[in-house]
């Protein structure tokens, strides 16, 4: 187990607080081992990032440390897990909670009380502390983490980022020595994710040991001490972030590689770079001037302008909408979508993206404005069941729509509702299932599939209607890199068939690498509409949409600042290739 020592630290001071010895675990409900022969030691004060494709065993590993396995989830268990010297099998989650705190993915399901103050008190009340003592600790915690202003708010009055910070604080009041976090920012927009991660950084500097599983490596790679990568129930890589992300093996696993690493690795295939130069932060790239000669930018083609030609397939004009008893969610939204467009609608939570989709489908009655399909069909006057013939919407959570006994019936639901003859239904469902690689599950229960597969079933159940416009709400949420690449290939194929694709997403990498046009929404309004390059290089626009500047844009700016040039591409790989191909031009 290699690990860089911090200043002033000696080997002797390193105490293993968690030691896992040859652990294997199989859930009672499954035939496959979720963990197989795992060996791991966690040392005091470490900040560890745990990564791996979906289903790799990250969550199971965390459950083995906090005692939910084997005390809450039973199954076949072998090996030994010792946490602070205690054998987990002989302890209980309740006892372990004195030293180990756990934060889960969905903040809403970990907040039981209707005020932040009570939430923080909850764990201490379980420990039978006297009320005055509890009050004192709660007030200190509120003060320390600058939460006084939200102390009396209910969970649903808080933003996602605030909710997750409260969930973390409600664990911290119990003074854990080790904090486990299972994808704590997956449900958050990028700016809230940054907020939560910098909160963790602050805690780490105070000496709490942290193990966090997370997809967004760009956010954590520069700040953690150690990265562990799992695949198929095994630990495949373990070391410092530099060692792990610069290891060629990391690319073969379905995890997100930080853009800086991807950029440098692509360069290193063509240009000789020093072996020990392994930057993780954008500013560390400035050394690159030593290895790369400036490129001429004017020799490059201009970025293609957004196609204003072609038929307008969806015309949204001055749409206003207000939820009962709430503020306006849409305040005069207008946008023209052209046939064959590939559009990503972005913006922080609550910007109005999902409401806009609901308005397009006439699921909510707009107050003012017009939504016209194909230049003549007024969608505000059409029942949703009719709109579903030409616009397919796949909402974020597949579990909100899966209900059938078999995958086949689930996918056939739309066509049967549209009263297609059964032979046509069979034929089209079969085709879609094959296209999405789900044919082997046709007769299985959709509830037995993994989350990624369920997401694909949900997508299939929309695609089967062969809609002219396909709208996807957060399609990459919780998806690993391989699943995302597969989705991109599928969408690519659909564009070739002339489909129009609209996506709402927080996923910066996805929107930069796949979409030709980005519409930014903020506070119920469209505040920008343009190519990814135009949008993501415009500081003012990013700030007012509450978006953060992607690493790859920062890399591009750095290249410009140090005189290498201003490349046009916005994916780390293409950026690097552009520099190489025009070298010396």
């Amino acid at each position: 187990m290699r690990r860089e020592l911090k200043v002033g630290e000696t080997l002797r001071e390193q105490k293993a607080i968690v030691s896992i010895d040859n652990l294997s675990f199989r859930y009672a409900s499954s035939r496959r081992y979720a963990l197989k022969n795992v060996n791991l030691e966690i040392y005091e004060g470490e900040f560890i990032l745990l990564m791996g494709p979906s289903g790799c065993g990250k969550t199971t590993l965390i459950r083995c440390i906090n005692g939910l396995i084997p005390h809450f989830y039973s199954g076949e268990y072998s090996g030994k897990v010792r946490v602070f010297g205690v054998d987990v099998q002989e302890s209980s989650p309740e006892k372990l909670s004195e030293k180990v705190g756990t934060v889960f993915q969905n903040p809403e399901n970990q907040l039981f009380c209707l005020s932040v103050r009570r939430e923080l008190a909850f764990g201490l009340e379980n420990r039978l502390l006297p009320p005055p003592k509890i009050k004192q600790i709660v007030e200190e915690t509120l003060e320390k983490f600058r939460m006084k202003h939200i102390a009396d708010k209910a969970p649903y009055e808080l933003s996602g980022g605030e909710q997750q910070k409260v969930a973390i604080a409600s664990i911290l009041v119990m003074r854990p020595k080790l904090l486990l976090l299972d994808e704590p920012t997956s449900n958050l927009d990028p700016i809230s994710a940054v907020e939560v991660i910098s909160f963790l950084k602050e805690l780490s500097s105070e000496g709490i040991s942290i193990l966090i599983s997370e997809h967004r490596s760009w956010l954590l790679a520069p700040i953690v001490d150690r990265v562990i990568i799992m695949d198929n129930g095994h630990i495949v890589l373990d070391g410092s972030p530099e060692e792990v992300f610069y290891n060629d093996k990391a690319l073969g696993i379905g995890i997100e590689i930080p853009p800086v690493v991807e950029f440098v690795k692509t360069l290193s295939r063509k240009i000789r770079l020093p072996k020990n130069w392994r930057p993780l932060k954008v500013h560390e790239l400035s050394e690159i001037a030593k290895y790369v000669s400036p490129i001429k930018c004017d020799s490059l083609p201009q970025s293609p302008p957004i196609k204003a030609e072609g038929k307008t397939i969806l015309d949204v004009k001055d749409v206003w909408f207000k939820y009962e008893g709430g503020d306006y969610a849409l305040k005069g939204v207008s946008m023209k979508i052209f046939k064959g467009d590939r559009v990503a609608i972005m913006g922080s939570n609550g910007a109005g993206k999902t409401t806009l989709i609901r308005a397009i489908m006439n699921l909510v009655k707009i107050e003012k404005g017009s939504i016209v399909f194909n230049e003549k069909i007024d969608l505000t006057k059409l029942p949703t069941s009719k709109i579903a013939r030409f616009i397919g919407v796949c909402f974020q959570n597949p579990d909100h729509q899966i209900f059938s006994e078999t995958v086949f019936d689930e996918v056939a639901f739309l066509l049967r509702n549209l009263r297609y003859p059964e032979n046509v239904v069979r034929q089209r469902v079969k085709r879609i299932l094959t296209m999405l690689d789900l044919d082997k599950y046709a007769e299985s229960s959709p509830f037995m599939l993994s989350e990624g597969e369920r997401k694909r079933v949900a997508l299939a159940s929309i695609l089967v209607g062969d809609p002219d416009i396909l709208i996807l709400d957060e399609p990459t949420l919780g998806q690993d890199r391989f699943q995302k690449e597969r989705l991109k290939r599928l969408l690519e194929q659909l564009t070739l068939q002339g489909k129009t694709i609209i996506v709402t997403t927080h996923d910066i990498e996805f929107s930069l690498s796949f979409f030709k046009r980005i519409i930014l929404m903020s506070n119920g309004k469209v505040i920008a509409d343009g190519s990814p390059l135009e949008i993501f290089t415009n500081e003012n626009v990013l700030r007012s949409a509450n978006l953060i500047k992607p690493d790859v844009v920062k890399i591009r700016e750095l290249l410009k600042d140090i005189g290498i040039g201003t490349p046009l591409h916005l994916s780390p790989r293409d950026l690097a290739l552009e520099i190489i191909s025009t070298k010396g031009a």
Binding site: E94, S97, L114, N126, R127, H400, N417, I462
Partner: protein, 266 residues
């Protein structure tokens, strides 16, 4: 939609005297109104008790939400009235059955709109009831807004798949709700699993005693409120069971109005 009925039972923060009452006082109010609803059938008494309940709702500033929930009670009330009237042919009894429903629903609605779910577990610990029951109770109230929102999202997702909820005959309409109900239940089960995990890791053990950081205390306001409500119950009990005072029934009031000279009605 039917689930908006839940809004009449959802707590919202408030600073009114009713909100400030001890949770036990609020529960006592609902219980006494239930007793009044069940021990007698007189129209005049129902009217008095309902007026008191509406007045409490008005003080708590939840009157509008309460009245909105009545809209959804109309069909149920009509059903109860017709069923009773057709079988018993007794107008007063049929009316009182409807008022019984209305009074109990209103009283519990007012209580739950002003009772912070967090305080329910305090009640349970006070009356020495099992802690896990209290927690089940308070968390089911706590998650009403969440579940309502989730149900809405599920309905939207299925309607976007061309599901028509209000089409076909009665049998079909019930069948139309299966694609809604299955995901609602599955999601609720998943959610409860996650809740249980989070509870375990925060040291919650229903078998063990725990403390409460904020213990609500009885105030002078509670004393006054409880005394007024209990006195009201005692007077009603006295009038109904121990006195010969005649209170007007619904049919008597109707016939009185009918007998009024035509001119006074205009």
């Amino acid at each position: 939609m039917a689930y908006s009925f839940l809004k009449a039972f959802t707590f919202k923060k408030g600073e009114t005297p009713i909100h400030r009452l001890h949770p036990l006082s609020k529960m006592l109010f609902a219980l006494i109104m239930t007793v009044i609803a069940l021990i007698q059938q007189n129209f005049t008494i129902f009217m008095i008790a309902l007026t008191v309940t509406l007045a409490v709702a008005a003080i708590a500033r939840v009157l509008r939400r309460l009245l909105q929930s009545y809209r959804l009670l109309i069909s149920l009330s009509a059903l109860i009235f017709i069923a009773n009237f057709v079988t018993l042919w007794d107008l007063d009894f049929s009316v009182s059955m409807v008022l019984r429903l209305l009074l109990m629903a209103s009283a519990f609605s007012v209580t739950f709109m002003t009772l912070n779910p967090d305080e329910i577990s305090v009640i349970f610990s006070r009356i020495r009831a099992p802690l896990d029951l209290g927690f089940i109770f308070s968390s089911s109230l706590r998650f009403i807004p969440t579940l309502t929102r989730e149900t809405e999202m599920i309905i939207f997702a299925q309607r976007a798949r061309a599901l028509e909820l209000d089409s076909g005959n009665v049998f079909n309409r019930v069948k139309n709700y299966i694609p809604i109900l299955v995901p609602v239940i599955v999601c609720a089960i998943r959610r409860s699993q996650q809740l249980a995990e989070a509870l375990e890791t925060r040291g919650f053990n229903p078998g063990k005693p725990r403390t409460y950081a904020e213990q609500p205390s009885f105030s002078l306001l509670d004393a006054v409120f409880n005394i007024v409500i209990v006195i009201m119950l005692l007077i009603i009990v006295y009038i109904i069971f121990f006195s010969s005072i005649h209170l007007l029934t619904f049919s008597e009031i109707v016939s009185l109005i009918m007998q009024l000279p035509y001119s006074t009605l205009i």
